[in-house]
Symmetry: D2
Subunit: 150 residues, 4 copies
């Protein structure tokens, strides 16, 4: 449910996110969404090292990787430098060993309502890091997913 | 048709395109596709200033903007630093004032065939730069589109 | 003085900031520093529209631009995905119409002390947006600068 | 010597490289320079796998890493979308186990001369990948360095 505090991530549009049309350059949105997912895991209490390789000098990489297999985004309103956004995450399972997160980007438009300026979707699938064959989600991600949908 | 020379753009995966999983980080693909589209226009003979704002100190911005309204990508195989790719563009009209480009990323896999490692789609819609209302495509883009589909 | 709350900006290394060597890819640091400067202005109370062009659909661009004319960075320790950092900003004037910000990136290393993992410098010069000739800093930036060095 | 063909790399400014000021956003320059260095090695005949980790699914990472320890850049003229550039590389040794590359970015300004719009410097130091202790440059890089300065 989007009501969970770890599924609502604030973000401000920065100058380097824009292009010469004066608005956010499209692919920055995909970067924001992935970073919002990482922050969601962090707020839920999952150390980055349980999900991502490269976390610490001597750290063993996780046995299970969760590569991104699909992404999409729809752009409804131009976003400007300095705009304050709320990124609302809605995760769901896509079967054993997979999940996707729908993202809704809302700009503070004053009462009564926020304005949805863009939406996006990131889909991941778990694979064994050594063989790259499909496998179940790592337990930490499964916990985050279960808690997020209830 | 993908056989046109301006619809086949080479690209090499660079070190900064990768992440700590050792492979291309997903959102770089969307950047590559947009840049491949820009290079396609350039090879076809369209000056950047006819399509993009910000081209030159005193240049008037084009009267028509073509913001990206939708994008998607599917990732089939991991891409590594140094991999040589061919990006194949397949543009098509989406009605008056709109077009989309399908991208197929092929890695040289030796004969007999290249390997499709990822696909993507970028969809644009023409709007008047001043009013942001839908309008026909700029003539230069219309020429590129007609030549590309025939 | 670094003791001011608007000169201490937290940042977490994200997965997309890393490369296949497993550590932060160098040029992300420059991006972080510019974004930390933008956040410093925001925390101090300066609306983005007073400094940056492109802030809002109908917004007039500021009459004075402050392009970056020089940057440098030194990398002392590798940074890993998930690392929590404090970015300490030390602004100073470089004469009429110019300023620079020294950045020190500290990783939480437990008591008794934080570890400096990288330093950077961004130098800006004010120019009239229309003529691109040197001019005094915009009043809002001058206020931030004076308050930051005292 | 800059006269060597592997030390002259062309580049076109793309739309996503710009910001809402209508010009190239500063940190893109550092990315271009690193990519120009990678392309220089490639043109000289050095496979990416001899220098960079993550090159191929089963590839052993190189025993020697060459992390970037310092970078700087100076911005003289604004760069616009569509601008065609030549990046001129001037490598030199900084002692055993280290080297730096000076970059000069020239915009085609018509005869009689190109215009230098920016300069940059990237400095690397060789370390053993396992111990992270200083060590000699990998032989392939040493060959490229010797050939480049003669």
């Amino acid at each position: 449910m989007a009501g969970h505090p770890w599924l609502l991530i604030p973000r401000t549009v920065r100058f380097g996110d824009t292009d010469a049309a004066g608005v956010m350059h499209f692919h920055q949105l995909l970067r924001w969404c992935h970073e919002a997912w990482e922050e969601s895991l962090q707020r839920f209490g999952i150390p980055a090292a349980e999900v991502f390789p490269g976390c610490g000098a001597g750290a063993e990489p996780p046995a299970v990787a969760v590569p991104l297999v699909h992404c999409s985004a729809d752009f409804r309103r131009p976003l400007h430098c300095g705009d304050g956004l709320q990124i609302v995450l809605s995760p769901r399972s896509t079967g054993p060993g997979g999940f996707e997160v729908a993202f809704e980007l809302q700009r503070d438009a004053g009462p009564p309502a926020a304005e949805t300026v863009a939406t996006a979707l990131l889909r991941h699938r778990a694979i064994a890091a050594s063989s790259r064959r499909p496998c179940p989600l790592p337990p930490a991600l499964e916990r985050w997913l279960q808690a997020s949908v209830s």
